[in-house]
């Protein structure tokens, strides 16, 4: 089985999907050659729902997100698949058309709130900018809108603070400003790439609440990328688990968490320190993910899998249904139930 076969786009799906990613492949140029960083990733979100993208660090989550919004590094190149919003494949749009979608349809919040704001512009200007770009509002009108948004995300004294510069805000506030900017135009889809990793729990809770409220208010689809399983458990409707550039399991959050169908998901859930006893080693998944340039031809998880058999080395498992609205990429997913 070749890796490219997964990249062929399939038929367009239902129109009520806010975002539909299919067979996304991203190639990455490195000093030692081109590697496939994202291999046939597909998922979809409906409006008002939250999809969590889980996975080992370096498995290609950010890269998937960036290809969706068209902000990939020049080192990376989308080589296949489709990203559909409002029934159009954004990968086939001209830059100008794509710009029209950026903001009102697709928008993204990055993890790094420290550097994601322009250090030399007052934050009000930056938050109001989407209105100036897409709605053609005057500077003053955009400023008013920015103040409204800042109020919405809970920045005290927004009128004065709008004139301040990013470095004058705390991390949590900056993250909220980024969110304000992202939701300014009521996008169909909001992608949040680890929006709270750098923040402490009280602020994280605050941000998560904010995201939920905004989502409810505006009926957005949210794609949440995070490492924090607890956050996923609390917030997500659906989960996509990625491993080494591929999707290994999909399903509703509740089902996946209660009964994982892929050994990797299982391992992940086991290694949460929450219930662990101090002094006892955490049940970690041994080993590390394969190098991108040397992804095995069989199952990508074979090197670390407790269930590994000869078949896993020979044949890459495809994503197959394991229940209503669930699928996993494992030859022996049934065996997990028995444990």
């Amino acid at each position: 089985m070749t890796t490219t076969s997964a990249c062929a786009p399939s038929a367009p799906s239902a129109a009520d999907l806010a975002l539909d990613v299919e067979g996304l492949c991203v190639d990455l140029s490195t000093a030692s050659g081109t590697v496939r960083a994202v291999d046939g990733v597909g998922f979809s979100v409906r409006r008002g729902r939250t999809l969590a993208l889980l996975g080992e660090s370096g498995c290609g989550k950010s890269m998937t997100a960036l290809s969706v919004v068209g902000l990939l590094d020049p080192a990376a190149e989308v080589t296949g698949g489709a990203v559909r919003v409002r029934g159009r494949d954004t990968l086939r749009l001209s830059p100008a058309e794509r710009r029209k979608l950026a903001g009102p349809v697709l928008s993204i919040v990055f993890q790094d709130a420290l550097t994601a704001l322009n250090p030399v512009q007052p934050v009000g200007r930056q938050i109001g900018e989407p209105f100036r770009i897409h709605r053609g509002l005057s500077r003053r009108e955009a400023h008013e809108k920015a103040i409204e948004l800042m109020t919405r995300v809970g920045i005290p004294e927004p009128r004065q603070r709008a004139k301040s510069y990013p470095h004058q805000f705390s991390g949590g506030m900056r993250q909220r400003l980024l969110i304000a900017m992202a939701v300014a135009l009521d996008p169909d889809v909001l992608i949040a790439d680890e929006p709270t990793t750098a923040l402490d729990v009280t602020v994280q809770a605050q941000i998560m609440r904010l995201l939920r409220d905004l989502q409810d208010e505006r009926n957005m689809a949210v794609v949440l990328i995070t490492h924090d399983l607890a956050v996923v458990a609390q917030r997500a409707d659906d989960v996509v688990v990625m491993y080494a550039g591929t999707v290994v399991e999909k399903g509703t959050a509740r089902e996946v968490f209660s009964a994982p169908r892929h050994p990797y998901t299982r391992g992940l859930l086991d290694s949460v320190p929450e219930d662990a006893v101090r002094g006892q080693p955490l049940p970690a998944v041994p080993g590390s993910p394969p190098e991108l340039s040397a992804v095995p031809s069989g199952c990508v998880f074979q090197a670390r899998c407790p269930l590994v058999r000869e078949r896993c080395v020979r044949e890459r498992p495809s994503l197959r249904a394991t229940g209503a609205g669930r699928s996993a990429a494992c030859h022996f997913s049934e065996e997990l139930d028995r444990d």
């Binding site: 902000l71 979608l101 903001g103 994601a116 250090p119 030399v120 512009q121 470095h167 900017m181």
Partner: protein, 309 residues
């Protein structure tokens, strides 16, 4: 800001004094100017008389003392060459240089920002390659070449521009400015391109793009102000070069500026004028440095805030 300025000015005072003293002593190491000013056939008595009249017979420290005392009264001496007051000569020449340098840098910075940004936006594109090649060439062309070619081609052959001179409409500015421009322009394009490339890969640029900002907005609205810091620094240094040494242009095109005045007074050992001219340019250069710092503060709120500390 005010305290920042005050501190900055105070810290410039010592180097300023160093420059003045340095020039004073260096100049006196170049020998006695008597021979230059007396005819070849002048007698030893005449030479001694001249030396005494100009105070060159005193010891160097004594000369320095006299100079400082006079300078404290804003008297910078008279020119050996013309007999005019040195201050007057310098003040006559300085505006010319300042105008030349100002206009040149204005054009150079504007042009370099436009072209450098364009090149940085798509590294390695044909636009980038052409812009880089042209700017590198511009930075390495001998300027007197360029000037004389300009005179011959645009002045004489095409008859579009006057060959030289300072009187007349805007057309007299074209060749001198173009000559002065090429090197700063070439250098600045490179600098702008470099810092623009890194500014354009900053996260906030990604954010701006995710908002659907047009390339123009991304470059000029977001990246430029962040990229401008090294550009300002280099531009400051280049302006220093212009203030100190537009000699070639001033010589070829007959612009009576400070560069020509300075080199003439060096070659003629006209110490009073040299000292006054160096003092003037040094003050200007320090003012320029302060201006660059102020510009940094204006473009970057973080610098502004750090300033009073």
């Amino acid at each position: 800001m005010a305290t920042f300025l005050r501190k900055r000015i105070l810290s410039s005072a010592i180097p300023l004094v160093c420059v003045v003293l340095g020039v004073f002593f260096l100049a006196r190491m170049t020998g006695n100017p008597v021979d230059l000013y007396l005819p070849l056939s002048a007698t030893p008595e005449q030479r001694a008389e001249f030396s005494a009249a100009q105070g060159f017979d005193l010891s160097v420290p004594a000369q320095l003392w006299n100079y400082l005392v006079d300078a404290a009264h804003l008297d910078f001496g008279t020119s050996l060459r013309t007999g005019q007051s040195a201050t007057e000569m310098v003040l006559d020449a300085f505006p010319v240089t300042l105008q030349l340098a100002g206009v040149t840098m204005l054009l150079a910075i504007t042009g370099a920002v436009l072209i450098g940004s364009l090149a940085a936006y798509r590294p390695n594109s044909p636009v980038d390659r052409i812009a880089s090649l042209l700017s590198m060439t511009a930075a390495s062309i001998p300027d007197f070449w360029f000037a004389i070619m300009g005179v011959l081609v645009f002045g004489v052959s095409l008859n579009l521009l006057p060959t030289s001179g300072i009187f007349g409409g805007p057309e007299v500015w074209v060749l001198p400015i173009a000559t002065l421009l090429i090197r700063p322009f070439g250098v600045l394009v490179q600098v702008v391109r470099g810092s623009m490339v890194s500014a354009l890969s900053a996260p906030y640029v990604k954010i701006a793009r995710s908002k659907g900002a047009t390339p123009c907005r991304v470059i000029f609205g977001h990246a430029l102000r962040n990229a401008v810091t090294p550009v300002l620094t280099v531009a400051g240094d280049l302006t220093v070069g212009l203030v100190n040494g537009a000699v070639i242009v001033e010589t070829i095109f007959g612009w009576p500026g400070i560069g020509k005045l300075m080199i003439d007074s060096i070659l003629q050992r006209d110490f009073a004028v040299l000292q006054a001219a160096v003092l003037m340019t040094a003050v200007t250069i320090f003012a320029l440095n302060i201006l660059v710092d102020v510009c940094h503060a204006l473009t970057d709120p973080r610098v502004r805030e750090a300033a009073p500390a």
